[in-house]
């Protein structure tokens, strides 16, 4: 019988612990238990037989740590084959009569994924694929992914399983005492991610005993439409008479787990510290207990690697629209230059304005959008945990971004055209997602609200054919400009109302309504208020617009969404009061200070960012931008740099001054054409194998402040990548950093390659393990003992050009 068919009407009893039982049989600490599948098959079979005889329906083969990072290809296949064969023997030889199945047990790889560790996401997917393919080949009936404490690795494992076999996949995560995964995800975030990707059962195991895990399990039961599984530990371990024991008896354990089953858990067993006796006790407690019927939960959600965002009836969510090059000159320049930091600043700044999610659009005709979008998503999710909306018209870019996104994304967009639906829906089905459906089709945008609703229903019907449903869609009835169609806003608002009445979610790109009109904020904010009143679920909007934020806060207070106006009051108190233009003090420039610096110079030295930004803006009204740099900013930086060299100023002081100068440069860059005042190109990187980049980042910051065009390739960079960039921008200077002795050879190799293939470039090196002698031994042109020395050398090179 197919296990999924059986699960429809039956509880499924799982197995219990294995590691501690093997240790009792002599498995030494540090030995890999998977090898016992071949060296001690009888021990494994006996334990597994006991589990089957205790009542286990689904038994995990002894393959928890069997993966390509621990075993070579040949041994991996031998171990997985032997493990599944042992499990089959146990199944055949056990006397009990219940239906029995065997799962390939898939644990974490034991290496953290980037950006927190060094393993590439796609590499992890490939490893899991390899393991699952072997499992399917050697007779596994289920893939059981378990003890995952990182949402990203969980996603890689589920993707790897789905892409390598057709077996049912069960996914179990390990939660800490705080009710979250080690990397931060809460249960709703995991439910959203895993259901979106098509797991067959989801739940929790390990870490804690059944009572401590109960709140997490209850969250799963509240939100999951899939069967929920639960394999807790036998309580907490302690040492008793020289042996590790767990504090729950089989009876206590079974009693607590059975209580969770009565609440709705449908697959139950044990993890660390549990034995066949625990499973037997659990079976006895579940005698005569029928499974709680599965119900379909209707929440509409997207998620990040920490939390989910619910689209509920009486809230409107704000989606920041600023990561989008349309109409933004600086943004376009940044995209063409591959300047990811510009995008990251936009992400963080919008988060600080209080948006709930971020739209990410990097589409420009002349760039490689799939590559850039993936890079943008990976970078943004390393600086913020806001859920993202992947915004692209290119299905290839969309798939790449959905793949690497650590959560369930919002997808912008699909429309009623057949071509669009056939391209987007399969991606949403595979990776999960909440897709924005634009109510237009081959015929264009209907003028009336009713016409748009009709398209919405057509899109929904087509989505259902792809196995999606209403909670996977959010409808955008399209805001059109009122400057050309006087009824445009009215029809859009009516469509929002009609869709909301049908229980569907809606989203609008609010700003379109005012296109072609002056003082657009006035129109946008009024339209936004009206749309919220009609039930708008989400608005793609500009969070820097105080009119929009005002409208949002005020509407929430007026509509009763903001209880006791708590949010409104706190917003109003921190809201910058409008200052009449005449009240702004005029004297900003001039007045040379007593410390030898101007006010701007002093602000930089003290690290007062806001003050420095304000002073810079004021100076820009009177002075030449380049003069501000040369006469005010650079001398201040020089004073700080000198103070650092003389040990009067400490590292934190150096950094905060450099950052403050960076703020000033940003203000100046907005005023002057790109390229002006730029010094030569410098390529910098932390070499292959090394992930330390604090020092390199400091060097970059200082070089940028001194006007150099810095190409920062990041950390763990191969010599080929350094060479490629050096040739591309014809950089006369390359800076390499290494912190670990083990990576100095990689540095030497990079120096050699640069000298050979890019003889016009000098190479300076630095980092904790290097000395001037060492640097000259590996052929470097210059050893910089700290960031300031690096800058001085760069100036020297620049002056000789």
């Amino acid at each position: 019988m197919n296990i999924l068919d059986y699960m429809r009407d039956h509880l499924l009893l799982l197995d219990g612990g294995m590691g501690s039982l093997l240790q009792a049989q002599g498995l030494a600490p540090g030995d890999l238990s998977e090898r016992w599948n071949i060296s001690h098959p009888q021990v494994i079979v006996e334990i597994q037989k006991e589990y089957f005889e205790a009542g286990t329906n689904l038994l995990c083969a002894n393959t928890f740590g069997a993966n390509p990072l621990k075993f070579d290809e040949k041994e991996l296949e031998e171990l997985i084959a032997a493990a599944l064969q042992n499990a089959r023997r146990a199944k055949e030889e056990s006397a009990s009569l219940q239906p029995k199945w065997i799962a390939l047990d898939v644990g974490p790889l034991g290496r953290m994924l980037k950006p927190y560790g060094d393993l590439e996401f796609e590499q992890a997917v490939a490893h899991f694929s390899a393991v699952c393919r072997l499992g399917a080949k050697h007779g596994a009936e289920v893939i059981f992914i378990e003890t995952m404490n990182d949402s990203y690795e969980t996603k890689a494992a589920l993707l790897g399983a789905k892409e390598s076999c057709d077996l049912p996949v069960f996914v179990s995560n390990a939660y800490g005492e705080d009710g979250k995964l080690m990397t931060g995800a809460d249960p709703l975030a995991m439910v959203s991610l895993l259901e979106g990707m098509g797991a067959d059962a989801i739940g929790v195991n390990c870490s804690l005993g059944p009572d401590a895990l109960a709140p997490v399990v209850e969250d799963y039961l509240k939100y999951a439409s899939l069967p929920v599984l639960c394999k807790p530990n036998a309580g907490l371990p302690r040492v008793k008479e020289g042996k590790t024991v767990y504090d729950l008896t089989p009876e206590d354990f079974a009693c607590s787990v059975a209580a969770l089953v009565k609440k709705g858990v449908r697959l139950a067993g044990g993890c660390c510290g549990t034995t066949p006796a625990y499973v037997k006790a659990l079976r006895e407690h579940l005698e005569g207990v029928s499974p709680v019927p599965l119900t379909r939960k209707e929440q509409v959600a997207i998620s990040s690697y920490t939390h989910a965002l619910l689209f509920e009836g009486d809230t409107t969510l704000l989606i920041g629209e600023r990561i989008n090059p349309t109409g933004k000159k600086r943004f376009k320049e940044a995209l063409r230059a591959g300047d990811m930091d510009y995008i990251l600043k936009e992400a963080v700044a919008q988060e600080e304005q209080g948006v709930h999610a971020l739209d990410v659009n990097v589409g420009l005709p002349e760039i490689d959008e799939p590559k850039m979008l993936r890079q943008a998503v990976e970078s943004i999710q390393s600086v913020t945990d806001l859920p993202l909306q992947i915004d692209t018209a290119d299905p290839v870019a969309m798939e790449g971004a959905l793949r690497c996104y650590n959560g369930k994304a919002m997808v912008n967009s699909v429309n009623g055209k057949k071509e669009s639906m056939d391209a987007v829906f399969p991606l949403v089905k595979k990776y999960g997602g909440l897709v924005v459906a634009l109510t237009l089709d081959e015929e264009g945008i209907p003028e009336t609200a009713e016409g748009r609703v009709k398209i919405a229903l057509k899109i929904l019907k087509r989505a259902e054919e792809y196995g999606l449903c209403a909670r996977d869609l959010i409808f955008d009835p399209l805001a059109l400009t009122v400057s050309t169609h006087e009824n445009a806003a009215k029809e859009t608002l009516k469509a929002v109302e009609l869709l909301t009445k049908r229980g569907l979610r809606t989203s609008l790109g609010v700003s379109n309504v005012s296109f072609g009109l002056p003082a657009r904020d006035l129109i946008n904010s009024a339209f936004f208020t009206l749309a919220m009143e009609k039930g708008l679920s989400a608005a793609i909007m500009n969070p820097y617009s105080s009119a929009m934020m005002d409208a949002y806060r005020a509407y929430n207070a007026l509509s009763g969404r903001d209880r006791q106006c708590v949010s409104y009051i706190s917003y109003a108190e921190s809201r910058p009061a409008a200052v009449p233009a005449s009240a702004a003090p005029a004297a900003a420039q001039g007045e040379e200070g007593t410390n030898g610096g101007c006010p701007l110079g002093r602000a930089i030295e003290k690290g007062l960012k806001e003050e420095a930004a304000r002073l810079t803006l004021r100076l820009l009204e009177e002075e030449d931008p380049l003069a501000i740099i040369e006469k005010r900013i650079v001398p201040a930086l020089d004073r700080v740099g000198k103070g650092y060299e003389e040990k009067r100023i400490y590292l934190p002081g150096l950094l905060i001054s450099a950052e403050t100068a960076g703020v000033c440069f940003d203000k100046i860059k907005e005023r002057i054409p790109a390229g002006a005042g730029d010094k030569c190109a410098v390529v910098i990187a932390t070499v292959k194998g090394d992930i330390h980049d604090i020092g390199k980042n400091i060097v970059r910051l200082l070089l940028e402040n001194y006007g150099f065009a810095v190409y920062d390739l990041g950390k763990d960079v191969s010599s080929e990548e350094v060479l490629e960039k050096t040739l591309e921008v014809r950089a006369p200077l390359v800076g390499l950093s290494a912190l670990m002795t083990t990576t100095v050879p990689a540095m030497e190799q990079t120096v050699r390659l640069i000298h050979e293939k890019a003889p016009f470039a000098r190479v300076m090196v630095g980092g904790a393990v290097l000395t001037p002698e060492y640097a000259s031994m590996i052929g470097a042109d210059f050893y910089a003992k700290d960031a300031m020395e690096g800058v001085r050398y760069a100036e020297e090179i620049h002056n000789t050009l």
């Binding site: 600490p29 034991g110 953290m112 080690m182 931060g184 371990p237 590790t244 950052e659």
Partner: protein
């Protein structure tokens, strides 16, 4: 041989002086301390204080030190473990919150990156102090004194010993701490170390 035990601790008190020192700042720098305070506030919800550990036998054979989970010829470790017949091996972590903040600021603010690095280091060292004090109390009752803690990479004890430490303690499973190819741990604010247990005369 015992199995591996896991302990969680409440947050130890913050030592701002230590954090300033890790940041390379001047002692008593009020502005730096107040910036650090903000960092701690940003971290506090996300930190955990978890340790997994095991007690093992120690044997000396000439130059060779048999730590039960690995063998080494480290003279520095041998000197520290002089007179000990047993050791504690532990891994400690304050979780991923500091890494998240470090990553968030790395591209945008080297200054804040430095502060979160310092705060995270102070937290994990404070956790180690707490654990060692706890063990000193527990083993004190059994008549043992504790040596200072000694980590792979200190003195002549090679960092490569981390592989054996991880195989023995399985901190991946117990704490979610993993080892990468360059033998660095993730979360980065984690420590592994050996403590000698010496019978009090």
């Amino acid at each position: 041989m015992n199995g591996v035990l896991v302990k969680s601790y409440p947050a130890p008190a913050v030592n701002y002086g230590e954090a300033c020192r890790y940041a390379g700042g001047k002692k008593g720098d009020a502005a730096l301390e107040s910036a650090l305070e903000e960092c701690y506030a940003g971290l506090s919800g996300g930190l955990c204080y978890r340790v997994c550990y095991t007690e093992l036998a120690l044997q000396k054979r000439g130059e060779l030190l048999d730590l039960s989970f690995a063998q080494t010829t480290s003279a520095d470790l041998k000197k520290m473990l002089d007179g000990c017949e047993r050791i504690l091996l532990f891994a400690a972590t304050v979780g991923q919150a500091p890494d998240r903040m470090i990553l968030r600021h790395m591209r945008l603010s080297p200054y804040k990156t430095l502060l979160f690095q310092a705060a995270g280091s102070e937290r994990v060292e404070a956790l180690c102090d707490l654990f060692c004090a706890d063990m000193a109390r527990e083993y004190g009752q059994k008549g043992f004194g504790l040596t200072p803690r000694f980590s792979p990479g200190y003195g002549d004890l090679p960092l490569s010993l981390q592989r054996e430490v991880f195989a023995a303690l399985m901190p991946e499973r117990h704490l979610g701490v993993t080892l990468n190819e360059s033998l660095l741990m993730s979360p980065s604010k984690s420590v592994t170390a050996i403590i000698g247990l010496r019978l009090k005369s």
